[in-house]
């Protein structure tokens, strides 16, 4: 929605330019803008959440994997599932700051290597007899390596006091901590095809899964991709509501979207104990029913926000 609205308000120039991995065409001219946007636990964009923060940076031989179907070679110093690095198969992991910094840098470096490989393939396709064609682009250990699912100290809270919509319907303003639980099972998923592999094509990788950066946490060139909430909210003027879910890991990302939003009328609310899908996070509860009203609370709040404005 943020991409749409940014293009509708600004025209195709928003998604064109030499900084873009893939540029949009002028076919996106004259789109009718909407009057407001509700972001429900929106993430920063697929290239960030399913891409640069998701890939396992320990893989060092992508060219051999993609070109010659070689097995991934793992750098043990960057292996998030090695207990020597802080992985805990039974609960929350604890990585050192040194490991985390190396990991975030390594994720960005692997993403940049993959982008270069994909662009090389794209240029080959465009120079072929079928310039509109595509090619497989399969990235093993490209999924299920988000270390903030393992180490709950990463992206754990808002930076500033923000509104928390509590289960009883009241709102308090505070630093909001995520109540999510660790997911050590992603170690197994990362090795699979269905759960750990980005099964993409060259074009789908570049257009919806790739973003340039120097650090996956805070060194991302968000506008290098057009699939970026962070980039788009800076070009949107209509009223926006950001609803973050406390039982998930996008609280800080939503706060960033809110902070960067260019809308004069903007709001951020965190829903206590809600999952990404708005339902109660029962595994986060300290007692049964602690977060039983998440769905009602969220939609009541949204409906009031809409009615108050429109």
């Amino acid at each position: 929605m943020s991409f749409y609205q940014a293009v509708a308000e600004n025209g195709p120039s928003y998604c064109q330019g030499s900084n873009k991995i893939i540029q949009c065409s002028n076919a996106l001219s004259g789109l009718p803008p909407a009057d407001g946007i509700i972001f429900r636990d929106a993430h920063p964009g697929n290239p960030v959440i399913a891409g640069v923060r998701n890939i396992n940076p320990a893989v060092v031989n992508d060219s051999a994997v993609i070109d010659h179907n070689r097995p991934p070679r793992i750098n043990p110093r960057l292996d998030p599932f090695d207990e020597k690095n802080g992985y805990n198969p039974s609960g929350p992991s604890k990585y050192s700051d040194q490991f985390k910094n190396a990991y975030f840098k390594g994720q960005a470096e692997r993403m940049n290597r993959l982008i270069d490989l994909a662009l090389e393939r794209l240029h080959e396709i465009e120079a072929s007899d079928n310039p509109e064609d595509d090619a497989p682009f399969i990235i093993p250990r490209g999924d299920s390596a988000k270390i903030f699912q393992l180490d709950l100290s990463i992206l754990h809270s808002t930076v500033n006091p923000q509104k928390l919509l509590k289960n009883d319907g009241t709102i308090s303003t505070q630093i909001v901590e995520s109540v999510r639980v660790a997911a050590p099972e992603i170690a197994e998923l990362n090795r699979t095809f269905n759960g750990g592999t980005l099964f993409l094509t060259v074009r789908s990788f570049l257009t919806a899964n790739a973003v340039r950066g120097t650090n996956s946490l805070d060194g991302i060139d968000h506008c290098s991709s057009n699939n970026s909430t962070v980039c788009a909210v800076q070009k949107i003027s209509v009223p926006v509501l950001f609803g973050a879910m406390q039982g998930h890991y996008f609280i800080r990302d939503n706060e960033i979207h809110y902070e960067l939003s260019a809308s004069a009328d903007k709001d951020l609310i965190v829903i206590e104990g809600a999952t990404h899908g708005i339902t109660p996070c029962t595994e986060c509860e300290q007692f049964p029913g602690q977060y039983s009203n998440t769905v009602k609370n969220f939609f009541d709040y949204v409906a009031a926000w809409v009615n108050d404005r429109f």
Binding site: D134, P136, I138, T192, F193, N194, G195
Partner: protein, 442 residues
């Protein structure tokens, strides 16, 4: 294959359309329904009495929630549930042996929520084998899709599915694996080097008979070699896939569950779409539903134009490789054992569960098989063969003059599309009458 008597006399009869279409039956607001992991849209007349007959429309992965059958059947007084399976728009995700579970959700919805007492399965193109598979399992249980001869066996979770009361196959092809068997380029003899072609088997080499401007003409020797070569390449691919799957299962591969299985030049090398001498007519005199609504019985000639553009498509990833498969989706929904691609007696029809001629041998309810004369894949004889294999005591076969696979008038045939302006009306009128004649008193 069963035989039938040759009928030399051309019979022309008028179609009596029992079902009148009126604007009062128009469907105004299809209703979305979630059906387990599948989903659907219910189309029915906006007003009127409780309807007794429901029609279920689905394909293994294509979006059929707005298929032409949804509105055409609802206009004719039926409840129509148009579904998308859990694999919508994702061929690489297809686990064919789970498809009946989605169809069952639809049958149960029609019976239990829409309260109809008769359910007709409607399969267009690849929806035909979807419905044939479902009905065969529903009538006979999971043993239909189990056994040592199967590349992939179904599970016992397919037990106890509710059978439907009839099936309509609209240009329903023989199944995805047989289509692939007849579309794979046999000139590739080394999967690790798919650009190196055996020139004796290259279908797009003018020396072999290819015509880039129109209809190709291949020699009988080439065709015989080609059809054998297609089966041989398919068998090699199956062996490669099974070996790879074993390595995956044994933990000796990159992945632990499935694996990419990209097959260059896997589609588009369909000789019967290039050379009009191959299966370009029905085997026997059959009913042709003509544009004026009359029916003639004759050997019916396909109107499908030759497709020399397949030469280019075969080289692409998006069409020639079908955008990439996995080992499991290949074996489950794209592979079949054979010794010759064009001779049913040399195809192990039941080595896959995605096989219309296999499954129809296990179906007893009434069957209407309709072939579309301008089907882009030149399917008329293949649909006829499905019909001939069918075990149903009550079965009917008809070819719709000038119709595309999508049941619209052919716009690139020799005659202008206006020559076939009535194909949609003619087919759905015929199908509605076929249903009402059998089930309206239920």
């Amino acid at each position: 294959m069963k035989t039938k008597m040759f009928l030399a006399i051309v019979i022309v009869s008028s179609l009596v359309i029992a079902t009148r279409i009126s604007s009062s039956l128009a469907q105004g607001n299809p209703v979305f329904v979630q059906l387990g992991q599948a989903k659907g849209a219910v189309y029915k007349p906006d007003s009127g009495p409780q309807l007794q007959i429901g029609i279920l429309v689905m394909h293994r992965e294509s979006n059929y929630m707005n298929n032409i059958a949804c509105r055409e059947f609802s206009r004719r007084g039926f409840v129509v549930l148009c579904m998308n399976s859990r694999f919508e728009n994702n061929e690489a995700l297809v686990d064919w042996e789970l498809i009946p579970l989605d169809v069952a959700q639809g049958v149960n919805h029609l019976k239990n929520v829409q309260k109809v007492n008769t359910v007709i399965l409607y399969g267009n193109s690849g929806g035909g084998v979807t419905m044939s598979f479902y009905q065969a399992v529903a009538e006979n249980g999971p043993s239909v899709c189990q056994g040592a001869n199967k590349l992939v066996q179904c599970g016992n979770n397919l037990g106890g599915l509710p059978p439907a009361d009839g099936i309509i196959l609209s240009d329903g092809h023989p199944g995805n694996p047989i289509l692939r068997l007849r579309s794979v380029n046999p000139a590739v003899n080394n999967e690790k080097n798919p650009d190196r072609l055996n020139p004796r088997l290259d279908p797009f080499d003018p020396k072999n008979g290819f015509n880039p401007e129109g209809a190709s003409h291949y020699s009988d020797e080439f065709k015989a070699r080609y059809f054998k070569g297609q089966a041989e390449r398919m068998n090699r691919l199956i062996d490669d896939a099974l070996e790879l799957l074993q390595r995956v299962a044994a933990g000796k591969y990159i992945y632990t569950d499935d694996a990419p299985f990209n097959i260059p030049k896997f589609d588009g090398a369909r000789l019967l779409s290039l050379n009009p001498s191959i299966r370009h007519t029905t085997l026997f005199p059959e009913k042709l539903l003509k544009n004026d609504g009359s029916i003639a019985v004759q050997i019916v000639e396909s109107l499908a134009p030759s497709r020399p553009e397949l030469a280019e498509a075969n080289q692409t990833f998006s069409e020639g490789s079908r955008e990439g498969l996995t080992v499991r989706s290949f074996l489950s929904s794209n592979a079949i054992r054979a010794n010759n691609s064009m001779d049913e007696s040399q195809i192990d029809l039941c080595s896959t569960n995605n096989s219309t001629p296999c499954m129809l041998q296990q179906v007893s309810v009434p069957l209407l098989a309709a072939a579309n004369q301008a089907s882009f894949q030149n399917l008329i004889q293949e649909v006829e063969i499905n019909y001939l294999y069918a075990n149903s005591a009550d079965k009917d076969f008809i070819v719709v003059e000038g119709a595309t696979t999508g049941v619209t008038p052919c716009a690139n045939c020799a005659n202008p599309a206006t020559s076939y302006a009535n194909v949609t009306k003619n087919f759905f009128d015929y199908a509605a009458k076929w249903i009402n004649d059998r089930f309206s008193s239920n």
